[in-house]
Symmetry: C2
Subunit: 397 residues, 2 copies
């Protein structure tokens, strides 16, 4: 397949691009390198030393003999160029990672950036008539946590009963949106865009509600140091499990926001890349509603993860205020039947890959800037400021 | 109250601004005059001759002795100036009409324009800490038509039963979104923004799901010809009842899209302005979810309206393809209990105001450009083109 990977220079996009290329697909990355520019603005770098995109791509060709195309393009602001690329490449599939990830980072601009990016892409598909299967990276965060009590979170759609004057109607609805951050909110907007353009224009769309990604390397990125994947550890972009590993590696207490009673869904980066190929190989047909798959393999309570890492690596735990308005504790049971049916064999925490993370965190510990570890962004009106957060942090060793 | 009216130069915004000023509120209009600029691009004008904003405002002061402020500002692109205006005026209430209305007009840019406008406003309120009650003009179109069978459309929220392993949970959810156009889709995105910022930041928001507005003048706009309100008759911006009146006035067949079996909700412009004052005078308190009110007073089937106007004004009816993907016929029962409880006394079609429209359409019939009557925009991939539409139109007299 000819595949465009939008955002193919990022933490999920890069290993996905290599995996798809390795599997024989003809891959072109579209990326404006914004994630690297955000590093500059935040004055923080990936824990792992990532190479410039050109060097990465040359290394891949040198090692595998395969070429990956690259176009430096901002889909949120360069609509006409996006149309040109679609017409030139006529892709069979498009993987859309091109949204700014961090919840609090520059929330006003990233929210409108994300919605413009997705909307531009949809309109460009309609305008060009390019009939590509679109796979978009959503998030488990669209469902919120704790909304459905003991009921498992379904895959995108929920069957409900609606009262009528004569009794009840059964209706299948998009699962109600309960985002806990601006970033997750933008993914709930995306869902409505997808529903509309699937219905109105017959676009073929898969929305992948991904859990928290852990791990760093895939089989492909591990082949050469120049192919190494990102590892974000800072308070804005780092995700929970990778952050615990880094914190333990440098003797920093593991920072738990709230009680740690939050249960979240997880997936290893090696499964992310497999899921993407499964998704674009099994798209919906035109006229169908968007296909929604939960891209997760297991759930864990945050505090349980902290204790696990603390035990393995002999670390302390520090409790910080929770920036999200949410229950202190929640259950989480998530359906992922569709990926299992498509053949996904989950990589779980018990598979020993924590060691890989531990090893990477230890190898690159000298690259950590300790001042970037604590999340300092203001997530909502009236929340504790950075200074409050720091004051409440126990003294470090 | 100090009230900002965003989009206060438009069809609903202008009479609302005058009404609120007349009621003693201290009104400032924020508007980028985009509706007038769209007239220029579409090469069409309001059927009624509207005056430049400065002249309108001077006339209002001359007649009433009251001042209405005006700031030429694009809230979608001038975030910093918006923040400045909020800090200078510290409004008690904000009425947000500042979204581009027409469904098909420049759908890509208007959709992202609308979402940026609303998001900028919300973030500016959070950033400035201005605790204004926000009333936003939504649309009945967010609910879609025919989704709930014989059940009345509730006001924003729907109580549903969700299956669980142990039985059922009752949950109140935002009514599922079923927009029939890009424009209505943007209003469904607004709803999610409102839910998030009400929950996360305690913003006080009322979303007014308005029906199709008919009528032209209010008590205030009728006081002087320089205060006259817009009357859009073109295929992009004109709304159904006003278009029928104009078509009949010039001997054009009344254009019905589809079978005319669609039932829609309506409200007279005189009730719109009253509803706005009721809404901003009865806002939710901080911490509450957004308040949603259905701003409608009656429902009619489109063909029934066409026949009514055809009878009164001796006109023919022409059937054109329907650009929306929707059922040919639908029932529509809409709850509007909240506005009735707040004291709204509905102005209905039977109240003789059709005569006003008829009179205006006849008085200004020479201003009609017949080439602008048929809707020529492409609403979706594969729909009939303008040429198809014209071919199918019966010969005009």
């Amino acid at each position: 397949m000819r595949v465009l990977v939008l955002g193919g220079d990022g933490f999920c996009g890069w290993p996905t691009s290599l995996y798809l290329s390795d599997k024989g697909h003809d891959v072109t990355i579209l990326d404006n390198l914004s994630r690297r520019k955000i590093d500059i603005e935040l004055e923080v770098e990936s824990l792992t030393p990532i190479r410039p995109i050109g060097e990465r791509l040359r290394a891949w060709t040198e090692i595998t003999g395969r070429e990956i195309g690259f176009v430096n393009l901002d889909i949120a602001t360069e609509y006409d160029r996006l149309v040109d690329v679609l017409l030139e490449t006529r892709p069979d599939a498009i993987v859309h990672f091109a949204e700014q990830r961090a919840a609090p980072y520059s929330m006003r601009t990233s929210a409108t950036n994300n919605i413009r990016a997705t909307h531009n892409l949809l309109v460009a598909l309609v305008e060009t008539g390019v009939d590509a299967a679109l796979a978009h990276l959503g998030t488990m965060g669209v469902y919120g946590y704790g909304w459905s009590g003991s009921a498992p979170i379904p895959e995108g759609y929920l069957t409900v009963k609606v009262p009528t004057p004569d009794g009840e109607l059964e209706r299948e609805i998009l699962h109600p949106a309960n985002p806990g951050s601006v970033y997750h909110m933008t993914k709930t907007l995306d869902q409505l865009l997808f529903s509309f353009y699937a219905k109105n224009d017959g676009l073929r769309i898969t929305d992948l509600h991904q859990g928290i990604v852990w791990g760093t390397q895939t089989e492909q990125t591990a082949r050469d140091p120049r192919l190494i994947n990102r590892f974000d550890y800072d308070g804005d972009y780092g995700t929970v499990l990778n952050r615990f590993l880094m914190q333990a590696a440098i003797g920093h207490p593991l920072t738990v926001h709230g009680t740690g009673g939050q249960t979240r869904a997880f997936i290893n980066i090696r499964d992310t890349v497999r899921c993407i190929e499964l998704a674009i190989s099994n798209p919906p047909v035109a006229g169908e509603r968007p296909q929604v798959l939960n891209q997760v393999t297991e759930t864990h309570q945050v505090l349980g993860l902290a204790k696990l890492v603390a035990d393995i690596m002999n670390a302390d735990i520090a409790y910080l205020p929770n920036p999200r308005r949410e229950a202190e504790e929640n259950d989480l049971i998530v359906r992922n039947d569709q990926f299992l049916a498509l053949g996904l064999e989950p990589t779980t925490l018990s598979d020993g890959l924590l060691e890989e993370g531990t090893e990477i965190a230890r190898r690159y510990r000298d690259r950590v800037d300790p001042s970037k570890i604590i999340a300092r962004s203001v997530w909502r009106k009236g929340m504790e400021t950075a200074e409050d957060l720091i004051k409440e942090l126990p003294d470090e060793d």
